[in-house]
């Protein structure tokens, strides 16, 4: 049969957006896949070098459009490590709760994208609605729905508004009570199982070698989660499990995502329970116009919704970062792993596999 070259994306329903893949196909089979990043390069890492330590926290969230919160977190963690700032206890709990809400919101958004792409429109609409409920919480806490600009170096920007704990509980109950419906219509739907099982498979060894993190590696059976390995914020203050699966295929990955979402809901309840009822939510940082962070370098990491997110940040003792470099999960997932797992799959499953790898293009192009 004839070998053909096929362009997949960026304008394609199965594509995550500003990203494309060049496929070499023979009939329906993919012989080789080449990922093409770069559609969304905005030069953030360079921009960071031109803004003061404080001016950067409204900027970094934009690196990952879908889940800005962990970007805020990792930047602040990096600055705190360089400057030797300790976040107050209540601030740590709020950060954890906030980031878990972000995880729930982000997973719902992922669920929307996945189900929408496969034509499960009902599920997609539910997921979008439920995500909106999470955004309502963010709006109330931070004043914005998407770019929350909430985690600042030193802690968080504002304390919970009055009655906010109850609202979180109520919203999470609403979402949680719909899980059986999601199961019935999507996760345990035989149509979906048929489409997602045994595609995009990867073994634990391969995953490790190619720098897989997050669901990509947890779906191969490895309990790899930075929140456990190197606990930050308040993740060591409560009990929680790391969901895993064994098969390493698209279906396992989406189930890990679902289980994580449920685990996050439970974790938020526990965090709310244990959180100190009063206290500062941030540590004072120096005057933003004069703040010079001591020279040095730091590497910090956290577990974003997509996996390990790292930041290497350098200060030369000046009022701006000398260099900042992000290690984002979508980078290895969207480039190396995607190329590898697409080999031998059918064209119809490209979007499916891509979604299960949970790639978000803006994270790749910084």
């Amino acid at each position: 049969m004839r070998e053909l070259e096929l362009y997949f994306g960026p304008q394609h329903l199965g594509m995550v957006g500003n990203f494309s893949i060049t496929l070499k196909v023979e009939g329906d089979r993919i012989l080789k896949a080449d990922a093409n990043p770069g559609y969304l390069h905005r030069g953030f890492e360079k921009l960071i070098e031109q803004r003061t330590w404080m001016q950067n926290f409204p900027l970094v969230c934009r690196i990952n459009v879908v889940e800005p919160d962990h970007m805020e977190l990792i930047y602040s963690m990096g600055v705190e490590k360089l400057a030797g700032i300790e976040v107050p206890e209540r601030g740590k709990f709020i950060r954890s709760i906030y980031c878990e809400l972000a995880r729930v919101g982000s997973h719902l958004f992922g669920l929307w994208a996945y189900s929408n792409m496969l034509g499960f429109d009902t599920v997609a609409n539910w997921a979008m609605y439920h995500r909106d409920l999470v955004l309502d919480l963010f709006e109330e806490l931070t004043g914005a729905r998407v770019y929350h600009i909430y985690i600042r170096p030193g802690g968080v920007r504002r304390d919970f508004p009055e009655g906010f704990e109850d609202k979180i509980v109520k919203t999470l109950h609403t979402i949680g009570s719909k899980v059986p419906d999601y199961n019935a219509t999507f996760f345990e739907n035989r149509l979906f199982e048929k489409r997602a099982k045994n595609i995009g498979k990867i073994t634990c060894e391969e995953a490790k070698k190619m720098g897989a993190v997050g669901q990509a590696i947890r779906a191969t059976g490895m309990k790899y989660d930075i929140r456990k390995i190197e606990p930050y914020a308040a993740y060591d203050k409560v009990d929680w499990k790391v969901p895993t699966r064994e098969d390493g295929d698209a279906y396992s990955r989406i189930l890990v995502i679902r289980d994580e979402m449920i685990e996050s809901v439970y974790m938020i309840f526990k965090l709310l329970d244990k959180m100190p009822k009063k206290g500062d939510v941030y540590t004072k940082t120096p005057n933003p116009f004069k703040w010079r962070v001591p020279a040095g370098e730091a590497y910090v990491r956290c577990e974003s919704s997509r996996g390990e997110l790292g930041l290497y940040i350098v200060s030369d003792g000046g009022d701006k970062p000398y260099r900042a470099h992000f290690r984002t999960p979508s980078y290895s997932h969207g480039l190396t792993i995607l190329e590898k797992v697409l080999e031998g799959e059918s064209i119809a499953d490209v979007g499916n596999i891509m979604m299960s790898l949970y790639v978000v293009a803006p994270e790749i192009d910084r």
Partner: protein
């Protein structure tokens, strides 16, 4: 996972019977959260125009725009600039709200602006008070008209909360000797910041420079404060010396007009600018060895200066930097003038004064102390010997109340002078100080100390009596508070009527009458009294501290007649600091109405420029006369006149 029925997904059908979740926009609107970060509001009355919002904005979305209708008040730290937001750039982060010192800037819950003209995205926010047409009640609001000029009333969102502000509103506490201890001796009350405290306090400065506009001498405050923050006290002090050559003095007793303008004062404490200046000056132990300030190239000109007070000292310094020779005459045995005798040792020790004076002397200024112009040297002689003369004599003669028996009272300046540089005065056990200004506070607080020294362990009383009531006392709040802490008693709104003597002619007390008003309708000083309401204050000693005037007796009659005064009895000077007598310049308390050191420095700066200009003009006149034609010759180029000049 166990296989489920393929009918399972049809459970979703039940959702058909639920109410829809979507809103029918624009007929149905979602109410944004209380903290929503939408368009800005700015309370123009509170906004100082400091520009901190523009400086912090990560997107350079804010530009400060001059608003002609707003009247600037630089002394109070208010500019007539207000922020303009470019909504094409703004990311609604709200950093501007969190940095705004007065908290005038707020975000609202409005976020809709629909317009064909992109220029309308540049917007100068106001608030409902000022912009009634834009902010309509909810009933009248229509989303179809939603824009920056059609917004809802009372719709604040993300607001400035001091607790979360990006600046530090609280001042680093200045360590001081407690009142119980300090009133027993003349020990310097303020201890001064240590390095960490100074750096921390300096770190509060937002660099908006409102203070620099308010300072009469326009010191480069934000720069010298930043140098302290960076732990470079020498750099800081050299910056100070560009505009103020008496930092050890001003770092202690400056009237700190700058702090009245500091934008941090509005919701917190003003930056401790004065104490930081003192820190810089105290850090450098030996000015002469450490500072790199050099006199200018000699010009051969000589200026005579009368009075080694702040204006005279500063002028001498500035003239030296220009290369002129300066000779300062003063009747006292050391420099400082009124400041040498006035401020008590617990506020301004002599060592601090001498440190500044000695440094000025080391730059080549000649001092002739113990020399009173008019007595030891004739003014006319000075005028002849020098290329210009500067009068900075200050107000040296105390006023008396001139009530009955007032000749038995002591005058404030004599009292202060003896205690500071002469022999300590003997005081009574119950002393009355007449006056409510800073000098009266100095006198009262000194008296308390002398009483404790002279009558240890005994009951002693010092009381002040002033025409002004509490709210109009001319003394600074700080002075009044500290006097109270030291147990000085106050009798505000009482005016002296008569000094009462006993049979042997000793003071028994002061008869006072209640004050009706101190100022007349035009705001002029013109006290009126209730003659029937009197009060007798007992006391065995009375000190009058009700003001001072200048002594011009050194001027020969023909010049004295020529010297013009303003309506407020101040020596009239032109924009160059020159009086109505040619070649004679003046500054300090005899010229300005602030009557303080830093204004005297400002006068000196003006006079230094003025004198320099004056001397250069003289030079030109001379050179034109003598070598004029020649110099013109040299300007010719290729036989043509050069075009400039």
């Amino acid at each position: 996972m166990s296989k489920t029925s393929f009918l399972n997904p049809f459970k979703a059908i039940k959702y058909l019977f639920e109410k829809p979740k979507t809103l029918r926009y624009p007929f149905e609107l979602k109410e944004p959260a209380k903290r929503y970060r939408g368009f800005h509001l700015n309370d123009w009355d509170k906004c100082t125009g400091c520009g901190n919002c523009a400086d912090i904005c990560p997107n350079e979305a804010i530009e400060m725009i001059k608003i002609p209708e707003i009247e600037a008040n630089l002394a109070e730290g208010r500019k007539n600039e207000r922020p303009q937001i470019d909504y094409g750039r703004c990311c609604f982060c709200g950093l501007c709200v969190d940095i705004c010192p007065p908290g005038s800037l707020t975000l609202t819950r409005d976020y809709l602006h629909i317009h064909f003209d992109t220029n309308t995205f540049k917007f100068i926010p106001k608030d409902e008070k000022l912009d009634k047409a834009t902010f309509v009640p909810t009933e009248e609001y229509s989303v179809l008209k939603a824009s920056l000029s059609h917004r809802k009333q009372d719709y604040q969102g993300f607001s400035p909360e001091l607790e979360y502000a990006l600046f530090e509103p609280e001042r680093v506490k200045m360590p001081q000797i407690p009142p119980e201890k300090r009133k027993l001796s003349f020990i310097e009350q303020v201890i001064g910041y240590n390095k960490d405290e100074a750096k921390q306090e300096a770190g509060r400065c937002l660099e908006c420079k409102l203070c620099e506009d308010a300072c009469p001498a326009h010191l480069k405050i934000s720069e010298y404060i930043d140098a302290i923050y960076r732990d470079k006290p020498k750099e800081s002090l050299e910056k100070i010396y560009e505009d103020n050559p008496i930092p050890s003095i001003c770092g202690r007793i400056c009237m700190k007009h700058c702090e009245d303008a500091c934008s941090l004062r509005i919701r917190g404490d003003a930056l401790a600018i004065r104490w930081l200046k003192r820190y810089a000056a105290d850090q450098i132990k030996n000015f002469k060895e450490e500072l790199e300030i050099h006199p200018g190239k000699p010009t051969g000109k000589k200026i005579g200066i009368i009075g080694a007070g702040p204006s005279g000292l500063s002028l001498a310094y500035f003239l030296r930097l220009q290369g002129h020779k300066a000779i300062v005459y003063d009747e006292l045995s050391g420099g400082g003038g009124a400041i040498r005798i006035g401020p008590p040792k617990y506020r301004l020790p002599l060592e601090a004064i001498d440190k500044d004076v000695n440094y000025i002397e080391s730059l080549g200024v000649e001092f002739k102390f113990n020399t009173k112009v008019g007595r030891d040297i004739k003014f006319e002689e000075m005028l002849n010997d020098n290329d210009a003369v500067f009068i900075g004599i200050g107000n040296t003669v105390s006023f008396s109340t001139r009530v009955k028996n007032s000749e038995k009272c002591i005058l404030a300046l004599d009292f202060l002078k003896d205690n500071k540089i002469g022999k300590q005065r003997k005081v009574g056990k119950e002393v009355i100080v007449i006056g409510g200004g800073n000098v009266a506070m100095d006198v009262a607080r000194e008296t308390i100390r002398l009483q404790h020294i002279q009558y240890p362990g005994e009951k002693v009383i010092t009381k002040t009596v002033s025409l002004e009531d509490w709210d109009e006392l001319p003394a600074t709040e700080e002075e009044v508070e500290e006097a109270k802490e030291e147990d000085v008693q106050f009798n505000p709104a009482w005016g002296p009527k008569e000094v009462v003597l006993d049979d042997s002619g000793n003071i028994k007390g002061l008869l006072c009458r209640k004050v009706k008003s101190v100022f007349n309708e035009q705001g002029r000083f013109s006290p009126t009294f209730y003659e029937d309401k009197t009060k007798f204050l007992t006391g065995d000693m009375i000190i009058e501290a009700i003001g001072q005037r200048a002594d011009f007796s050194f001027l020969p009659d023909e010049l004295s007649d020529k010297l013009e005064f303003t309506e407020r009895r101040k020596v009239k000077v032109d924009e160059n600091g020159m009086t109505s007598i040619p070649k004679v310049f003046a500054g300090g308390d005899i010229v300005n109405i602030n009557l303080d050191a830093v204004t005297a420095i400002a006068d000196a700066k003006v006079a230094a420029q003025g004198i320099d200009k004056f001397l250069k003009r003289q030079q030109q006149i001379i050179s034109k006369d003598v070598i004029g034609p020649k110099s013109l010759e040299s300007k010719k180029y290729n036989g043509k006149e050069s075009v400039d000049d």
